[in-house]
């Protein structure tokens, strides 16, 4: 199996605002291998979220080539993008983005609903995922009955339940206090040890320390890419 999971070459994302145009990304090239743990850092407006959305198949680049697991995302139509999001990507958001009226269990099942998995199997997988993030006893709670850290763990369980190739997290600790943030980060560490590939966006240098590789963005370009020799 190919060891390279992500392959971005000269990626541009340009927003046309009539008179002017904004280059949210101006030629980003970057590769990631399986089981890497990468932090993307940079000042506000530097293009971190834009890059994450592209990697997460929520968006397509204006220009450039993006291969995910060897498949060209830049050429995918809506159905294929949806399928890639479902099968290849697990997304964790700063604001959790759980469905408020559904139990933790149902929230975690949701990606499997869209992949068409039969109900009984779904329930089993979701239960497993919730147990893996330490919420086996909170399965039937709704988000408003859970703490922020617990909500984020539900969101992580939801991201992992399809066994994706890549876990993406945009400021996953941004809405949590230090204690809960630490809880989430140690969960990420464990997931990384278990073989998951993780990319997270953060402002916080302490958070970035957990990653083995730090990619620093400035004005839509990669300013530096350092770490424990993950770069080839």
């Amino acid at each position: 199996m190919n060891d390279i999971l992500l392959d971005l070459k000269d990626i541009w994302k340009t927003y046309d605002l009539g008179a002017t145009s904004v280059h949210a990304l101006g030629g980003v090239s970057f590769e990631a291998r399986r089981n890497e743990y990468i932090a993307i850092v940079g000042p506000s407006g530097s293009g971190k979220s834009t890059l994450m959305n592209l990697i997460g198949c929520l968006d397509t680049p204006t220009k450039g080539r993006y291969l995910l697991n060897g498949r060209p995302v830049s050429e995918m139509d809506d159905n294929e993008l949806a399928r890639a999001r479902n099968e290849e990507i697990g997304f964790v958001f700063q604001t959790f983005n759980l469905l408020a009226r559904q139990t933790a269990q149902r929230n975690v099942e949701l990606p499997l609903v869209y992949s068409g998995m039969p109900r009984s199997e779904r329930v089993e997988r979701a239960t497993e995922a919730l147990e893996a993030v330490g919420l086996g006893d909170r399965r039937h709670h709704r988000p408003n009955e859970l703490s922020g850290g617990q909500r984020q763990r539900v969101a992580i369980a939801r991201a992992l339940v399809t066994r994706p190739s890549l876990l993406l997290a945009d400021e996953p600790t941004g809405n949590l206090d230090t204690e809960m943030g630490r809880e989430i980060l140690s969960l990420f560490d464990r997931l990384h040890e278990q073989g998951n590939t993780i990319i997270l966006v953060t402002h916080n240098p302490d958070v970035a320390k957990h990653a083995r590789r730090v990619v620093s963005l400035l004005d839509g370009r990669i300013e530096s890419d350092t770490g424990n020799g993950a770069r080839r």
């Binding site: 929520l58 968006d59 159905n79 949806a82 399928r83 999001r85 983005n97 068409g116």
Partner: protein
């Protein structure tokens, strides 16, 4: 996503907002209630009219001075042109119409029969010749009807409707006693079986006497009515045509002149009735059409609002793998379920209303099966039509923008 999961998601979001769901489907439900109610009442009346009033399937029809008049101009015209029916007309029909088995003569009149000091007003007097008596062939419950001799002689005898007998005689046996009409005594031969009422109008409130007796008192110059019985119930139309030809010939009507007499057949009664109910029905249809459009627009608005309200949810669903068509199906299913639920509630309410009316008034009601099926099909179609735009709006949302909603 599997269709069943899509339906479940849609149903769940309806159940989560019961008040919104209820208010939204109210408009549709009201329209359907109205039309189901009207349909049930009309259908009930139709069957009732056919069986009890027009007596569809019987082989007799009546000929009288005026037919069924449906407008004031028709009435004025008939008043001017129509000529009364005479005994000679009956004779001519008996002689020349080969599809006719029997021609009876009868006259109707309101009377107040008396017995001793008791009196009943507004009783229908029916004077019959023997042919009319045979065609009518009343069910006599007590005593007997007429003999041929009595009718031919014009004997002063009668038989009573059940209600008249009950009111005049209470517990006494009326047979053999004399009822007074126009100051003369009529011997009661018998009492007809109780028939009940049609649309609240009693069928037992009559007294029958021989036509001869009537004409001894009042003469035979007035117009009479004919009851004509066809030989073959399947050849009613031919019999009607023959009778019309005979009467037209006797009255020297040219081919382009209208009949100057009336023929009332079960079919003509029914078609008159149908014309009447069709009008009511088309008004009801118009009302339901408007309420479906209004209800549909309400649902479209609510659905659009829902889409805005749930933009983030849609973003989340897309981010974890929902395809455009999954989202579209979810919202379309929601709107169809809303509409169809409105249809079902409407059918239920309409039936309930019709049932109540049937129970507490003499009006009949019937519940045709096609009505609920049609209601659900039509309301579902309304749901699809008015749900399509909101569903497409939801499906076309850009996931990033949908997720970014909270930012501002």
């Amino acid at each position: 996503m599997k269709r069943s999961d899509g339906l479940r998601v849609a149903a769940a979001s309806l159940i989560e907002n019961p008040l919104r769901t209820f208010l939204t489907l109210l408009g549709i439900a009201m329209g359907v209630t109205a039309v189901i109610f009207v349909v049930s009442m009309i259908e009930g009346l139709n069957r009732y009219m056919g069986e009890k009033v027009a007596k569809v399937g019987s082989s007799s029809f009546t000929v009288q001075k005026y037919g069924i008049l449906t407008s004031h101009t028709e009435y004025a015209e008939a008043r001017r042109r129509n000529r009364g029916i005479r005994h000679e007309d009956a004779e001519a029909i008996r002689r020349f119409a080969s599809d006719v088995e029997r021609v009876g003569i009868q006259r109707g009149w309101g009377v107040s029969p008396k017995y001793g000091s008791r009196s009943v007003s507004d009783v229908q007097m029916l004077a019959q010749d023997y042919d009319a008596y045979l065609i009518e062939s009343p069910d006599i419950a007590q005593g007997r009807g007429f003999s041929q001799g009595e009718v031919q002689r014009g004997a002063l005898v009668c038989y009573l409707g059940w209600e008249v007998a009950d009111k005049l005689f209470e517990n006494r046996d009326p047979v053999g006693r004399k009822v007074r009409l126009w100051g003369r005594g009529f011997v009661v031969n018998g009492v007809a079986k109780k028939q009940g009422s049609i649309l609240g109008h009693s069928q037992d409130n009559f007294v029958s006497i021989p036509l001869g007796a009537f004409e001894k008192i009042f003469g035979s110059r007035r117009s009479i009515n004919l009851i004509v019985k066809a030989k073959d119930p399947l050849r009613m139309e031919e019999a009607v045509d023959e009778v019309r030809m005979v009467l037209r010939a006797r009255r020297h009507l040219r081919w382009d002149e209208e009949d100057n007499f009336g023929v009332i057949t079960p079919d003509s009664l029914m078609s008159f009735w149908r014309k009447l109910t069709q009008m009511i029905f088309s008004v009801a249809l118009f009302v339901v059409g408007i309420s479906l459009v209004v209800g549909g627009i309400v649902i479209m608005n609510i659905m659009l609002l829902t889409v805005v309200e749930r933009t983030r949810e849609i973003g989340v669903r897309k981010a974890i793998g929902a395809r455009q068509k999954d989202i579209r199906f979810q919202f379309l299913a929601e709107s169809v379920m809303l509409c169809a639920a409105g249809g079902v509630v409407g059918v239920g309410l309409g039936w309930l209303l019709a049932y109540l009316v049937r129970t507490i008034t003499p009006l009949p009601a019937a519940f045709p099966l096609w009505a609920p099926i049609l209601a659900v099909v039509v309301t579902s179609a309304v749901g699809i039509f008015f749900g399509l735009y909101p569903a497409r709006t939801a499906a076309d949302l850009n996931p990033i923008e949908a997720l970014g909603r909270e930012a501002c």
